[in-house]
């Protein structure tokens, strides 16, 4: 199976210790859900996902060059 290199942008409290975007090598067609399992973050049904600026779902498959954003709800006001 081919590999794919993607960029992951974490947001808000998920950013944690990461000060910049992550570059990951994954399997081509790996899902967002599978990518989250690789990261030190807890999966949560309220996360909003975006791939290349478009709304995505946990089951969306990722491809080489994709930019994934993982956005939890925040409420600082």
């Amino acid at each position: 199976m081919n590999n794919a290199t993607i960029t992951v942008k974490l947001f808000g409290p998920l950013r944690g210790k990461y000060e910049s975007d992550l570059t990951l090598t994954i399997s081509e067609n790996e899902t967002i859900q599978a990518v989250i399992a690789r990261l030190p973050i807890e999966p949560h049904p309220s996360y909003l996902y975006s791939v290349n600026g478009q709304h995505a779902k946990a089951g969306t498959q990722l491809h080489d060059g994709d930019v994934l954003m993982i956005i939890p709800p925040i409420s600082g006001g």
Partner: protein, 257 residues
């Protein structure tokens, strides 16, 4: 009855009346409009101030609680001598010192399922800036039910996001965030005042656009930014046809804009 712009208005707002595409008609709409401000902290307080000086006719400010010393790094409507006193009173006094013509109605209450309909019903737009998910969800539900446009913005640390909701046309809050995170500690978020102020200003711009029809609001779009890196992104967001809050609404039912 529509209140027309008078000579004082034309002088006071003449610099914004020369904005490209912004007309007396937009300003008249603003003068005759009401914005509900849910939360008068670092974000909502800034939004309220900039709506007031832009010439909105009426603000309804809903916020429960008193001012503490730790609020002062971000709350530009508050003053040191007000610590321990009710925030909404200080907000009203500060706004009316700067823009005495704005009607400011204040409510020292939380947004609840029981009172939210009364707060949103006569608003032309609502601004969501409470520091907890339960009040944000309650406000979203009320705005969808009464077809009131909602400006949603929140921050955490150096990150913030912003989007505008037109019930029946765009995703509502519940379409995007289905399960508010119960692990969130209210009032525990890290915050730099300049960031909450930036977000508050942007929310004021969105509210002005939504109310007057000027510009292009963030409908079905979300702006995300991080001010530590000055990284700005805009993403498209979609309605959830099965959303229990707004799924039954269609854009032909319209909103107030």
């Amino acid at each position: 009855m529509i209140s027309q712009l008078n000579n004082e208005d034309l002088e006071r707002f003449k610099r914004q009346l020369t904005l490209n595409g912004y007309t007396n008609e937009h300003q008249t709409k603003l003068k005759n409009s009401t914005a509900l401000i849910a939360g008068v902290g670092g974000v909502g307080g800034t939004t309220a101030l900039y709506l007031a000086i832009a010439g909105i006719g009426r603000l309804k400010i809903v916020h429960s609680g008193v001012l503490t010393s730790s609020n002062l790094n971000r709350q530009i409507l508050m003053t040191e001598d007000w610590i321990g006193k009710t925030r909404v009173d200080c907000a009203k006094a500060a706004i009316q010192r700067i823009a005495s013509g704005v009607q400011v109605d204040i409510y020292n209450e939380r947004m609840t399922p029981e009172n939210s309909a009364d707060f949103v019903r006569d608003a032309d737009a609502a601004v969501s800036a409470r520091p907890n998910f339960s009040e944000r969800c309650t406000l979203n539900n009320a705005c969808v039910q009464h077809r009131i446009p909602l400006i949603e913005g929140a921050m955490f640390d150096m990150d913030a996001y912003l989007f505008s909701i037109k019930p029946g046309l765009t995703p509502c809050y519940h379409c995007l965030f289905k399960d508010a995170d119960s692990r969130w500690q209210e009032l525990g978020f890290p915050v730099l005042g300049a960031l909450s102020g930036t977000l508050g200003c942007m929310m004021a711009v969105e509210a002005i656009k939504v109310i007057t029809g000027y510009g292009k609001p963030l409908f079905s779009k979300m702006l995300l930014f991080n001010l530590a890196s000055m990284d700005f992104n805009t993403i498209a967001v979609n309605r959830d046809p099965g959303c229990p809050v707004c799924g039954a609404l269609h854009d032909t039912e319209g909103g107030k804009v």
